[in-house]
Symmetry: C2
Subunit: 130 residues, 2 copies
DNA sequence: CAGAAAAGATTACACATGTAATCTTAAAAA
DNA sequence: TTTTTAAGATTACATGTGTAATCTTTTCTG
């Protein structure tokens, strides 16, 4: 049973760790703890546990450098977030993305920048699908 | 400690139950089991457990009708999905909705209809924010 | 009326998750 | 070299979750 295919289901806390690892890697656990602590006051032991779980799940790996480990993600952020988004939208909005965006609009959570980006995406889409 | 404010954190399985309840309510547990079984082969006892948990969490309530209960949601689907979407997008995309949509586009998961709906949303948004 | 059936309540139980504390071991410091 | 540290490994432990089975109670059914 190799680790070729990440057997994920990354928990929320695990995702936070992965998230800062994606920001810059390879990184030691201390690096990661430090970055996380900009935002959340997580105990160093907690972060280590989460790193180990990510390793066991096959989404993070490491190389030994003396006594520390240098961690790195085995999956790309883009790939992961794309899949999560798809499955979220399937679950909650029966796969349609527009209702999700509608909720944002309705909640005044859309900025001019968001709208500009959406327009650019649409223009691009239309060029590819005329 | 009243049940005024739903103390949610609705699990995935619980959400499935709530989802079919939203489709049509009030509904008995048998109604719900039947509707769920269109899609997933859940044991009737399982569904009852999930209903009880939803009641305990304050997101579903019921009225007694003879020996059965008539369940109904205490929160609106729109409200719930809006909040879930916000928190999902915050967690995964740092709050920006466009990258989520970009992932869909990039994955060829956008239909003409989605695009039409997005365009309508944008037009609407622009009318409100000129 | 007695027994069966069915609704809901209670109990079960393994695995996941958040959140560490303790144990081991190796490297750094004195 | 002995001692202290600090990294990672192992263990812990309460609560949540998926997935029911069993218990209680109340209505039908015969």
């Amino acid at each position: 049973m190799s680790n070729d295919n990440p057997k994920a289901d990354i928990s929320n806390a695990e995702f936070e760790v992965l998230d800062v690892l994606w920001d810059d890697y390879p990184a030691t656990s201390s690096d990661i703890v430090e970055r996380l602590n900009q935002k959340k006051p997580w105990h160093d032991k907690t972060v280590k546990t989460l790193l180990s779980r990510l390793v066991k799940k096959g989404v993070v790996d490491f190389d030994k450098a003396q006594r520390q480990y240098l961690y790195r993600p085995l999956i790309a952020r883009e790939d992961y977030t794309k899949k999560e988004a798809s499955s979220f939208v399937s679950r909650i909005f029966k796969g349609k993305v527009a209702p999700l965006v509608a909720g944002f609009a309705n909640q005044n959570s859309l900025s001019q920048q968001d709208v500009d980006e959406l327009k650019a995406l649409i223009k691009q889409w239309e060029q590819n699908n005329d």
